[in-house]
């Protein structure tokens, strides 16, 4: 009996052992499953919960002038945020080291004072149970430092890249500006975003409950790549001066706008492209929307008499005229079978003028007699070669190409009025390069505003399309044209007011009528375009003032021209001329 009971007990024990072994096998199996077979999936799941992936923003590149002066750069600004659920009174040590109680109202006053924000708005945002509220956006570093010193425990500062233009509205219309979301909206910021924008990096790490990275935790980092530096051809000092001058005269003359383009004649580099009104890209909303863009590249207007220079150069280049070709310039002239009349802007008896005299007096009736010797189709080809009717290689956002009608689309009257700049449209930069062509021995260069994109390794990548120089007129024609334009400044009733004592200057005024509805109105686009020194032109300056209300002719454009050109000559140390202008007759008997 006893043996039997023992064997029964042994059997039970064995069964229990088998059961335990089976359970053990299950557990071990499950363990192996977790440890080996399902481990990758579980690890990934676990990593996802612990890991934090952050974008490391790439800093946007600077925009600099030709001397490296920074016109646009990127710094960090700070959003001032708060956790309303944590807002309460707190203690702070005063200057004597004693703890003082700071109420919420007091803290709100301090925040409003430091950030110059509205106290009511701040106070409203401090109330609530939410975990996040933004009090102020984009305060600068100094303000954020003052906020930190307040020691408010429920105040948090979040940094983010912020675009700053240290010189304000200097070249603002060219630079453009950024939106509040950090995307470029206008100007070169928009057009050259490919150069300026960097590539954001990524950082993935594991962090503990206290927010600090777990040591040796897996990190997957993509290094951010900073944007390139956009190098402009501008001289920022000259740009500032030109903007000051244009602001003064546009205001005085109660004009809509004004522009001044300074070009280095032999290279095509734009040294300044000043306009007024101008936009401060730091605060574009302070400027009317129509004034935030660059009229130098975008505004279209009839050039008026500044185009007579092109007509004269064309006639000389075609061998149809010389600087001393004779015309009898009457007050009025009937030029078409339809008996349409062309008149000079000023009253005068019939004058015996040479072509030089025609330019000096800006005679419409005189220039059409010379220009008509060249077929319209040929003149049209010259316009195209001078760069009219096409955008420049700068390819500025929204740049206008201007309008020049083909001979087939030109009516009888326009075939004549186009000789003195009516019936076509140009941009200010195009007018400057008409004269750059003359100043550069008859070779038109492409405007050069963007010298390139400088990369991190200091290599410079060209941006603008390389356009071969265009021979428009012969060097002899160009020289003859300059000689004629010198007489405009020496003897012309308007041109004389642009003269700079001691220097030889060549230039031409323009007083273009502006369409007001279907007919021409009473306001004008006045301009003066010239070059200096005339014996070997180095700089070209084109000044345009649109719709001035206190002057009705180019006498409003010569003072800013003279002032800016004097500054150009001083800046580049151009000594006074030591030679005299060519001896050319302006009248005949």
């Amino acid at each position: 009996m006893r043996n039997r009971a023992l064997s029964l007990e042994e059997a039970r024990l064995r069964r229990l052992l088998v059961l335990v072994a089976a359970i053990l096998v299950v557990f071990v199996g499950r363990l192996l499953w977790f440890q080996f077979i399902d481990a990758p999936r579980l690890n990934a799941l676990s990593f996802e919960k612990r890991a934090v992936t952050e974008t490391v923003p790439a800093l946007r590149g600077d925009i600099v002038d030709s001397h490296g002066n920074v016109l646009a750069t990127t710094v960090y600004s700070y959003d001032v945020n708060v956790d309303p659920s944590m807002v309460s009174a707190f203690e702070r040590k005063n200057s004597q080291g004693f703890k003082v109680q700071i109420s919420v109202a007091q803290a709100a006053k301090e925040i409003a004072y430091v950030t110059k924000a509205d106290l009511t708005e701040i106070t409203k945002k401090l109330v609530g149970t939410s975990r996040y509220a933004n009090l102020v956006k984009e305060v600068d570093g100094a303000t954020s430092r003052r906020l930190e010193k307040l020691g408010i425990p429920w105040l948090f500062l979040q940094s983010k890249p912020h675009r700053v233009y240290p010189n304000g509205a200097l070249a603002g219309n060219l630079l453009g500006f950024m939106g509040s979301d950090g995307n470029p909206l206008e100007g070169l910021e928009l057009a050259e975003n490919k150069c300026l924008a960097g590539v954001d990096g990524k950082e993935t790490y594991e962090k503990g409950e206290d927010g600090i990275k777990i040591p040796a935790s897996r990190q997957v980092s993509v290094q951010p790549k900073a944007g390139g530096t956009l190098v402009l051809s501008l001289n920022s000092d000259l740009q500032f001066y030109a903007q000051q001058v244009m602001a003064k005269y546009v205001r005085n003359e109660k004009a809509d706008w004004g522009s001044a383009v300074i070009v280095e004649a032999k290279t095509g580099k734009m040294l300044a492209a000043a306009e007024y009104p101008s936009v401060d890209p730091n605060n574009p909303l302070a400027t009317n929307s129509v004034d935030r863009r660059s009229r130098i590249f975008q505004a279209l207007f009839e050039p008026g008499s500044t185009l007579k220079t092109v007509t004269a150069a064309t006639a000389i280049d075609q061998g149809k005229a010389t600087p001393e070709s004779h015309v009898i310039a009457t007050q009025n002239a009937f030029v078409t079978k339809q008996h349409l009349e062309i008149s000079d802007s000023h009253s005068h008896p019939a004058q015996k003028l040479t072509l030089t005299g025609v330019l000096r007096d800006s005679s419409n009736t005189g220039i059409i007699q010379i220009g008509a010797k060249v077929p319209l189709a040929t003149r049209y080809q010259y316009w195209l070669k001078f760069g009219l009717g096409s955008r420049t290689a700068v390819n500025f956002p929204g740049e206008g190409s201007g309008i020049v009608h083909t001979p087939a689309d030109t009516d009888g009257l326009t075939s004549y009025t186009s000789m003195f700049g009516q019936g076509m449209s140009v941009t200010p930069v195009q007018t400057a390069f008409l004269y750059q062509t003359i100043a550069n021995n008859g070779v038109r260069l492409s405007p050069k505003l963007l010298l390139g994109c400088r990369n991190a390794d200091n290599t410079v990548t060209p941006i603008e399309k390389t356009i071969s120089p265009t021979r428009v007129v012969s060097p002899a024609t160009a020289r003859s044209t300059i000689d004629m334009l010198e007489k405009v400044v020496e003897q012309g009733p308007i041109g004389r007011t642009a003269a700079i004592p001691g220097y030889r200057l060549a230039g031409k005024s323009g007083t273009a009528q502006l369409k007001d509805g279907k007919s021409y109105g009473r306001l004008f686009a006045i301009s003066f375009i010239g070059m200096a020194p005339a014996d070997d032109p180095k700089y070209v300056l084109a000044v345009t003032i649109y719709r001035p209300r206190t002057v009705s002719n180019s006498l409003g454009a010569t003072p800013p021209f003279k002032t800016i050109m004097q500054q150009v000559l001083r800046t580049y140390r151009i000594p006074p001329s030591t030679t005299k202008s060519a001896n050319i007759a302006t009248e005949w008997k």
Binding site: D140, A142, N167, P215, F240, V245, S278, P575
Partner: protein, 226 residues
């Protein structure tokens, strides 16, 4: 020589096996763990584990401290970077064309419309010298907006700095070594006094006006370099 005594003290194997000898005494004197290999292994493993745990703990503490140190250094780096940014923006503001133009006007500087050049090669003067006059082409005030020009050169400090330089130049010409008051530098945001011993130096908007005075051989002070 030294081997002989040990040879003598070593008991013979046959003697150890003899039941008459008190062999047990020697066994008792041996460590228990050495006697029991299992216990020895267990103890060694245990001590090893404790040592590993301790090492791990120390390493963990050291690493944790390192992480906090790194975090602290990163905070300090951010703090310094912010300082750099703040100062950089102040410098940008002070060196902006708008501020420089205003400062020049405060000093009464005007544009001369009659530039004159000295041609060293030809030893001639080009241009007609004439005094620069106020008005005319000179533009008063800033007409180019700049909303980030937060730091401006203090007109008061600027005038004080110039006056100090003038006094210093005058006194140097007269040959009277007079100790001069230090010049207060100046910006609205960061006015500070700098006094470098016996040679006071004026700073305007970060730019050194005076520095050490350079005298020409005839004791006439050279004009301060701006």
């Amino acid at each position: 020589m030294s081997a002989a005594p040990s040879m003598r003290s070593m008991p013979a194997r046959s003697q150890l096996r003899s039941p008459g000898l008190t062999v047990m005494q020697a066994v008792r004197s041996m460590p228990r763990a050495a006697h029991n290999p299992r216990l020895f292994i267990f103890t060694s493993v245990l001590i090893g584990l404790v040592l590993i745990a301790l090492g791990n703990l120390l390493l963990s503490i050291a690493t944790s401290e390192g992480v906090y140190k790194v975090a602290s250094l990163k905070n300090e780096q951010m703090h310094l970077e912010m300082n750099t940014q703040i100062l950089g923006q102040e410098v940008s503001s002070l060196s902006s064309d708008q501020n420089l133009s205003s400062a020049a006007q405060v000093l009464g500087m005007v544009t001369n419309t009659n530039p004159v050049f000295l041609d060293v090669t030809a030893q001639s003067v080009q241009g007609k010298p004439a005094a620069a006059l106020a008005g005319g082409i000179n533009i008063s005030g800033n007409l180019v907006a700049n909303s980030v020009m937060t730091s401006k050169t203090s007109a008061k400090d600027l005038r004080a700095a110039v006056a100090s330089q003038e006094r210093k130049a005058t006194m140097t010409v007269l040959g009277s070594p007079v100790k001069l008051p230090s010049v207060v530098s100046g910006t609205k945001t960061s006015a500070s006094t700098r006094n470098t011993g016996s040679a006071p130096t004026g700073y305007v908007g970060g730019g050194q006006i005076g520095g050490s005075q350079v005298s020409l051989p005839n004791s006439i002070p050279a004009s301060p370099t701006h």
